[in-house]
């Protein structure tokens, strides 16, 4: 068995406690270990991605118990892609957090971050439905800690909301898992797929309830309307480097939807037919629309980016909800893009807020605009799906994939109108922030000043002696987006192959249940 599969979980699970135990009072050592661990994770996940690229599905039987009786980790193209994306994003976030000094504004930033990574990576790797719940909880509880990192009244209030909403979601998760177990008698996802496929057509109602509740759980994570309400405030009030890391969290939801609804409740499964597409697609379209309106309607930069993230989730979920191989391939491409783009914009928003405060229309001038303005411009282009960056390519892919769907006109209209509104909103914000601030603030003296939230204003001097690192992080993300654009062809080859693998669940099932050996 290939022990590299468990490394993405075990490594942070060792480093984080080590940081807590030994390095509790040594920030610089914490930084070194955290950074080293993240780099190692990137290397490991890269190795795994290379291994998965040939289309084999690797299985790791924890405790040496065969599936479905023990818990298994499964590495296929999809999980490998998500792992790599997570590790790459994490590296940028760690660099940024160190460089900006955010990690020094509260305790245990690095430990929580590593635990968060462990949770996310574990969720992508697991082949067991209940274990997915456990790792969801790991990543969530770490995210609670990161979200309120540094404290502050508003952030804590938003934190309460974030936690409460997610606790409701976790409850629903358990109800769903309980229902699925009670119907099928198994927890292993591959086994679940086998049993669901064999389910009597006269006994589908309860399974459908379980399946749909599970979908709703993932929809909450993926911020699908009307389950998205947790996102704007949580992301906007979180430390923005953390929000950048959270860009992957919504994707965990999208990943889980893709995984469960291709593997277990796939399009060809009679028992759960018509359960998802009917409402997920319209919901995704509404998500996009609401996100775009939010971008235009935001008064605060963090919130604006948060709504941008919702917009991109809408686009992504439209592709997911189509449930065709082509659309799924597009969705995966868009997943990579939107994660990097949202993270980039969150980091840039943090750069802006540190220098100027969060209000889009503000009195405070922006110091040192040139580089940040360029970065914002690039990030905005990426977020809005404008050329030449990958957002445009992704958008085209999604639209192209929707071509044969009966709602194609609505889908296109929503995507394009959403892009337009996003562009207008971002242009408005960008021109307010970077163009207007020097000498004509007197023009709007009458304007009531927005109460700048204390959690977003720089509370203390960044305790960093590496002021270049944040920019390194941003440029790394820009570079990734550029590479994603330039190598869109090979990337699409990979996601197309991934989608093909997903839509042939027998590959997965055979590997997990060792059917080929029997």
């Amino acid at each position: 068995m290939n022990h590299l599969l468990i490394a993405p979980v075990v490594l942070p699970a060792i480093v984080a406690p080590f940081i807590i135990m030994v390095l509790r009072h040594h920030l610089s050592l914490q930084r070194i270990f955290s950074l080293a661990c993240t780099v190692a994770l990137l290397a490991i996940t890269l190795g795994l991605a290379v291994q998965a690229a040939d289309g084999t599905v690797q299985v790791y039987e924890l405790g040496n118990w065969p599936a479905p009786f023990g818990i298994v980790l499964v590495l296929d193209r999809l999980s490998a892609l998500m792992l790599l994306l997570t590790a790459g994003l994490a590296l940028a976030v760690v660099l940024y957090a160190i460089g900006s000094g955010w990690d020094a504004r509260g305790r245990h930033f690095h430990a929580l971050l590593q635990f968060q990574l462990m949770g996310i990576l574990g969720a992508f790797l697991t082949g067991d439905a209940f274990n997915l719940f456990v790792f969801f909880e790991v990543l969530l509880i770490a995210s609670y800690g990161l979200m309120i990192h540094g404290g502050g009244a508003k952030r804590l209030q938003a934190g309460v909301q974030y936690v409460v909403y997610n606790l409701l979601g976790s409850s629903l998760f358990l109800l769903a898992l309980g229902t699925l177990y009670a119907v099928t008698g198994t927890l292993n996802m591959a086994d679940l797929a086998v049993r669901v496929a064999e389910l009597s057509p006269d006994d589908t109602a309860l399974l459908r309830v379980g399946a749909v509740m599970l979908l709703l759980v993932f929809a909450i994570k993926a911020a699908v309307l009307p389950l998205h309400f947790w996102l704007p405030a949580s992301y906007a009030y979180a430390p923005l480097p953390v929000a950048a890391l959270f860009a992957i969290m919504t994707k965990v939801g999208a990943y889980a939807i893709l995984r469960m609804y291709t593997l277990v409740f796939g399009p060809d499964v009679a028992a759960t037919a018509g359960l998802v597409g009917d409402w997920l697609l319209p919901a995704a379209m509404l998500t996009l629309a609401i996100g775009a309106l939010g971008v235009l309607g935001s008064r605060e930069i963090g919130r604006l980016v948060a709504f941008g993230a919702i917009t991109s989730m809408g686009t992504l979920l439209i592709a997911v909800a189509l449930f065709t191989p082509q659309a799924t391939a597009a969705a995966l491409y868009y997943t990579v893009h939107s994660t990097l783009a949202a993270a980039l914009l969150f980091l840039i928003a943090d750069l802006i807020i540190e220098r100027r405060g969060g209000a889009i229309i503000a009195q405070r001038p922006m110091a040192q605009t040139g580089l940040i303005a360029s970065l914002f411009f690039v990030g905005a282009i990426a977020m809005a799906g404008m050329p030449p960056l990958s957002g445009f390519v992704g958008k085209l892919l999604v639209m192209d994939a929707a071509r044969d769907h009966e709602l194609v006109w609505y889908i296109w209209a929503v995507i394009l109108a959403g892009s337009l509104i996003t562009i207008i909103g971002l242009a408005r914000a960008g021109s307010e922030i970077f163009w207007k601030s020097h000498d004509d603030s007197h023009i709007r003296e009458a304007e009531p000043e927005i109460a700048v939230d204390d959690t977003q204003a720089p509370t203390e001097e960044p305790a960093s002696n590496a002021p270049a690192l944040p920019f390194v992080a941003c440029f790394a993300l820009v570079g990734s987006l550029a590479l994603l654009t330039i190598f869109a062809g090979p990337m699409m080859d990979y996601t197309t192959a991934t989608a093909a693998q997903l839509f042939d669940p027998n590959i997965y099932i055979d590997a997990v249940l060792r059917r080929a050996e029997q």
């Binding site: 405790g63 009786f69 818990i71 800690g145 119907v183 309830v209 309400f229 085209l396």
Partner: protein
């Protein structure tokens, strides 16, 4: 030179100024000029072949899966446009070097300009409509930067945003159109698409595709009703206006119409949409231009008008009209760019562009005057300048075109527009340069240095040259370009000044005469114009955008109003609705399991649970009471677990219960003790309905599940069968926890550890904030009794602690075979320690607690992880357990299992997490007075001994 290189050079060039920002103005201008020049030369190297009729291609796969490829081709049309873009680009680079002031960041300017230039070249060279879209949107973005270049001008910001909004939205519409087009043809390659006229025009999707693509073209080329952005884009520095708004960007729309002409034109739909739009735009632009006092505004509306003219020609759908369109594109670019530059010179030298403040400049600025004069006359359509030639062709075509059966409509309006066109051209000369010299110019005007007038001078040279020797100078280019547009045989045409007394000539004459008349009438007409009410496009656009923004804000704020209670209600209601839908759309089977008879105990448990729960709801405002009642619920749940064959759960539940209560009480100490009534009755009723439906649903669901069998045997049969054999334990639940699903447990202790870390970190954050002062001076909410550390309690806990630890050890060690295990043991141990804290006080107990809880948590997780990794040494997967039996005489044989080590990790993590959590909360409550040196406040033995000592 490869087309790739030509397309890439401007982008490469854009890098240099960005990198050379510190190197100075000349370096930026030189590098920009050099790369543009290189590209231009590269283009010229390809020109002979193109002029011979060849089409040069370059292909590179980018995203073949989608059909988006970096395919370029160069035909006549591409050559014409690329030549304009690069050629005029060179002149602009030169002009801008002298136009921009020292304060303006030159590097930025050239970077933006070359980005834009690259995008334009990309558009005209693309052989793939998706690639074309990429460049198309890039022009919108780069022009946004250029228009807003003077960041301090509010008009610049607004103009830039308006341009972006309009052209960007057009571009988005075009995406849809292009996707449809590609769908119809089955390819996104232009060369392929251009060969499928019949297929496209026969498709039911032709009209939608046409409209969507035209929206893109019209917005870019400022066609009515999208024309309004162009004048506002004049806030850009004049070199930008000269480049974007005369020669290049606005021509992109025309280019696209010309490019798609072979497959889209020739239908009535095309004619009526394109020609009519062009006609209206032409007339409207010309009329408005006459009444603009700002030089650049005048030129902007003139541009709108001329773009309309060309659009109209393309809309006619005839081959000869297409030739005329191509020709006018060239001519307009030359004279309009020159005019913009002249306006820029005037602005630069006089510090104003207001016609009303100008006049008589011919004496002061003779060179500028000459340039402007020639360009203006060309614009007015006077011979022997190039504008005359193409305008003649236009009028000729208009004369032969009927609209909705009316032969007069188009010629009439064409003359009308030409009349105004002549009038505003004359006005530019007469009101700016002629007339008496004034004494109140804002500056002292004089001709600029050579650098500034060289570029426009070259352009007016072209104006004359083309006008006189058109057939030789641009004839081949027009032929080959028009040939590319038409995509077939070229009709006969001749580019010369004299065609005889054609209708067009009479029309021209009428226009020029009428133009002079209009100029004479201008003061009176102007008064009327200013008095007349008319819709101001900017106002409409602003109010539209304002409405949209306000609506967005309204929707966003209304939806995301920060009310988590509403968010939760929506989530619950939505979940109920979707679940009900899922249920009723499936098939429900009959129950397969008999319902079991309930004895008295379950009934009593039910009564307790339900009534306590109900009372919690009714009395939740009394928070302490609610917590007491929660205690009842916890007890009953625990008893139920025991009753229903789950002793492990009972143990866990009751232990967790106690810790939770303590936790809540610690928190409640700081919180208000009562919850006020806030929700109106209607809201409470709504919530009650949601809650009851949800409760009914969940209850019904579990009832249905309990009364049905598994669809296939549960995997837990394996666990029962292998627990002892493979896991070495008889308590199957525990074996599942530490072995079969030890990985879940690993995650679970990490959750607990993280929870404690989060709580600790937050405590630190709170104690590091201004809240600390409040906490230190906080008065208790209610009166306190006089006995903080009661004697009896302290003594009892001292006795209990070793006993409780013994029990914890017992529970721990038996766990593998009997109910118990590391988790419960950890809770018991933690509670045992907690009793010390409660009895003797935080500071006294903490002083005696030598092990840091962080360390306990960390070691717990590490022990669990290390146990799991130990399996690697045996070549087994993570968390593979081993067990065996040891026999040391005289002891009996006893069992060892690595699972116990794993469970030890669980134990430690739980102890550490619970203690760190509660300790953190206790630290929040700590006040300086609480540092008691004794475990109990009353201790007669101690006090009496002290007294005795005193007496002695």
């Amino acid at each position: 030179m490869s087309l790739f290189l030509i397309a890439a050079l401007p982008f490469l060039g854009a890098l240099f100024p960005a990198l050379l920002i510190r190197a100075g103005r000349n370096a930026a201008a030189a590098s920009a000029g050099f790369t543009t020049f290189l590209a231009f030369v590269g283009l010229l190297l390809n020109a002979p072949a193109v002029l011979r009729g060849e089409v040069i291609q370059a292909r590179l796969d980018w995203l073949p899966g989608l059909g988006l490829n970096t395919n370029f081709f160069l035909d006549g049309l591409g050559l014409l446009f690329a030549g304009l873009i690069l050629g005029i680009g060179l002149l602009i680079i030169l002009y801008a070097r002298f136009y921009l002031s020292r304060e303006d960041p030159m590097g930025q300017f050239y970077t933006y300009l070359l980005l834009f230039q690259g995008a334009m070249v990309g558009i005209v060279l693309s052989d793939n409509i998706l690639l074309l879209l990429v460049f198309w949107e890039l022009t919108s973005l780069s022009s946004f930067l250029l228009i807003g270049y003077w960041k301090h001008l509010p008009e610049g910001r607004q103009g830039a945003r308006m341009a972006l909004a309009v052209t960007g939205s057009g571009g988005l519409a075009m995406i849809a159109g292009m996707l449809i087009l590609g769908h119809i043809v089955g390819s996104y390659d232009l060369t392929v698409i251009l060969q499928h006229k019949e297929l496209i025009q026969a498709s039911p999707l032709y009209l939608p595709a046409l409209i969507l693509i035209l929206i893109g073209a019209f917005t870019k080329s400022a066609q009515f009703p999208f024309h309004f952005w162009l004048p506002h884009a004049m806030a850009a520095p004049t070199p930008v206006s000269a480049y974007l708004h005369s020669a290049t960007m606005v021509k992109a729309g025309l280019f696209l119409m010309a490019r798609m002409w072979p497959v889209l034109a020739g239908t009535p739909e095309w004619f009526y949409i394109v020609a009519t739009t062009g006609l209206i735009t032409m007339v409207l632009g010309a009329v408005i231009a006459l009444f603009k006092d700002d030089l650049k505004a005048l030129l902007a509306f003139s541009t709108v008008s001329h773009l309309g003219l060309i659009t109209m020609l393309l809309g006619f759908g005839t081959k000869i009209a297409a030739v005329a369109a191509v020709f006018h594109i060239i001519n307009h670019a030359t004279f309009k760019a020159a005019l913009f530059m002249s306006a820029g010179i005037i602005d630069h030298e006089t510090h104003t562009r207001d016609i009303k403040r100008l006049g008589g400049l011919r004496f002061l600025m003779p060179i500028t005057f000459t340039i402007a004069l020639i360009a203006c006359l060309s614009m007015a359509g006077l011979p022997p300048f190039n504008g005359f030639l193409s305008k003649e062709m236009m009028l000729e075509e208009a004369f032969h075109t009927s609209w909705m059966g009316s032969p007069y409509f188009i010629p009439g309006l064409a003359v009308f527009a030409a009349l105004f066109s002549a009038a505003y051209s004359f006005r530019y000369i007469v009101h700016v340069f002629l007339g008496p010299k004034r004494h109140d110019y804002p500056a002292h005007p004089h001709d600029p240095g050579t650098g500034l007038w060289l570029a426009p001078a070259f352009l007016v040279f072209l104006v004359i040259a083309i006008g006189i020797g058109s057939n030789h100078i641009v004839g081949p280019l027009v032929s080959v370009a028009a040939g590319a547009v038409i995509g077939g045989e070229l009709p006969y045409f001749s580019l010369k000044l004299w065609h005889g007394f054609t209708p067009a000539l009479w029309m021209s004459l009428a226009a020029v005469t009428g133009g002079l008349l209009l100029l004479w009438l201008h003061p009176r007409l102007s008064k009327m114009w200013n008095a007349a009410p008319r819709p101001e496009a900017k106002v409409i656009f602003d109010s539209l955008l304002g409405t949209l923004t306000r609506a967005s804000r309204g929707v966003t704020d209304a939806l995301h109003n920060g009310s988590i209670t509403r968010y939760s209600a929506i989530m619950v209601a939505f979940t109920i609705a979707i679940s009900l839908y899922a249920y009723q759309s499936g098939v429900a089977s009959e129950a397969t399991r008999a319902v079991q008879q309930a004895g008295a105990l379950p009934v009593i448990g039910w009564i307790c649970l339900v009534s306590a729960t109900g009372f919690i709801v009714l009395n939740h405002r009394n928070r302490l009471l609610a917590l007491v009642l929660i205690g009842v619920v916890g007890l009953i749940v625990s008893l139920s677990f025991n009753y229903l064959s789950a002793p492990d759960l009972a143990l866990t539940q009751i232990s967790v219960e106690v810790v939770t209560i303590i936790l809540m009480l610690l928190a409640l100490n700081f919180l208000p003790k009562e919850t006020p009534v806030e929700s109106p009755l209607a809201i409470r009723a709504r919530d009650a309905v949601i809650a009851i439906v949800a409760g009914t649903g969940v209850g019904g669901l579990i009832y249905a599940l309990m009364t049905r069998d598994f669809s296939a045997p549960s995997i837990s049969e394996f666990h029962l069968a292998n627990s002892y054999k493979g896991g070495g334990g008889t308590n199957v639940v525990n074996v599942i926890l530490v072995d079969f699903r030890g990985y879940d447990t690993f995650g679970e202790i990490i959750v607990l550890g993280i929870a404690a870390l989060v709580i600790y970190a937050l405590t630190e954050a709170i104690l590091g904030s201004k809240v600390r002062a409040y906490l230190l001076n906080r008065k208790p909410d209610s009166p306190q009794d006089g006995d903080p550390h009661p004697l009896m309690m302290v003594v009892a806990t001292r006795v209990m602690m070793p006993l409780a630890l013994m029990v914890a050890a017992y529970i721990f060690f038996r766990g593998h075979n009997l109910p118990g295990g590391g988790f419960i043991a950890g809770l018991i141990a933690a509670i045992a320690m907690l009793m010390q804290y409660m009895a003797s006080g935080f500071s006294w107990a903490a002083e005696r607690q030598k092990v840091y809880y962080h360390g306990i948590i960390g070691s717990g997780v590490l022990i669990a992880a290390a146990t799991g990794m130990g399996a690697w040494l045996a070549g087994q997967p993570f968390l593979t357990s081993a067990f065996g039996y040891l026999h040391w005489a005289p002891l009996e044989e006893f069992e060892w299992a690595t699972a116990a080590l794993f469970d030890l990790g669980v134990f430690l993590a739980v102890v550490g997490a619970v203690m760190l959590t509660l300790e953190s909360l206790a630290r929040l409550a700590w006040q300086p007075g609480m540092n008691s040196e004794h475990a109990m406040d009353i201790n007669p033995a101690r006090d009496d001994a002290a007294k005795l000592k005193e007496e002695v």
